[in-house]
Symmetry: C2
Subunit: 162 residues, 2 copies
């Protein structure tokens, strides 16, 4: 078997209905203006128990509006061509998106989040807690990406991956 | 459509052939003893360009040997029951695993990594670069998970998710 298949576990609700003009990563959207909701299928709501103790969570989702796969791209935060796996660009073979968002509230099967950098209606595949002891490597080097969190905050997407 | 489907992009080679006795996350495997290889399908090797500038990468993979889905689990690093989405346990609906590993070398379509905490033969779905400006939230709170990186290093998996 060389194909992976899974059911969606829910959907992400945001203010964004088109791929241009969006924040680049939750790092560019850590403001009240970028709140959103995650609605989990009710049959899975029990699995959200204890999630409210975490301030940040990974959302792993399907970049469902992307149509082209490219091996070489110019990422939003750069001006040069890069290999797709050295970027977070959406035109990747898997079409998997990943965002670390701030978790504001859990209400039954509904999460309120800040840092919503995805399209409204994006299908959700998994949620994982952000765990500092697992997820924060010491002194990482980050290749071509020299922009600061502040640079990211000022950046918006354009239509290059539509 | 309520199903996500994608092709594997490669395979992960490690020393582990069974699910018990493994490190818990790459944080428990940051030693020479836990090196492994990632072999990318040759048709996608061009997409690895520039990846060698990054010291750490996310591997997103299929936990292909897990057979049971559970909404409530006792994670390896805890003694109490938790909701599956508040843990990194494998019995999750998506069967998606995620590890931040150290990238030691890129040779054509083959990556040498350290922090290999997955089974040998694990099918790979995506690679993303670890980018500090995106991936390192300030002062995260981490719920039930009070263990330090050092605690994680001492821990090994057992057969609870087999």
């Amino acid at each position: 078997m060389s194909v992976y298949t899974t059911d969606y576990i829910g959907v992400i609700r945001t203010q964004f209905t088109e791929l241009a003009g969006m924040p680049v990563q939750p790092a560019g959207a850590d403001e009240d203006a970028f709140e959103g909701e995650v609605i989990i299928n009710e049959a899975l709501a029990e699995g959200l128990r204890d999630l409210d103790g975490f301030s940040h969570i990974y959302l792993i989702y399907h970049l469902h509006k992307v149509t082209e796969t490219k091996m070489i791209v110019i990422p939003f935060m750069d001006t040069l061509e890069r290999g797709i796996f050295a970027t977070r660009s959406p035109s990747r073979p898997s079409r998997l998106g990943m965002s670390i968002v701030r978790l504001l509230e859990v209400n039954g099967n509904c999460l309120k989040i800040r840092g919503a950098d995805m399209l409204d209606g994006t299908p959700l595949i998994d949620i994982k807690p952000y765990i500092q002891a697992f997820d924060c490597p010491n002194n990482p080097s980050c290749g071509w990406m020299s922009a600061s969190r502040e640079d990211v905050r000022k950046k918006r997407s354009d239509d290059r991956f539509v």
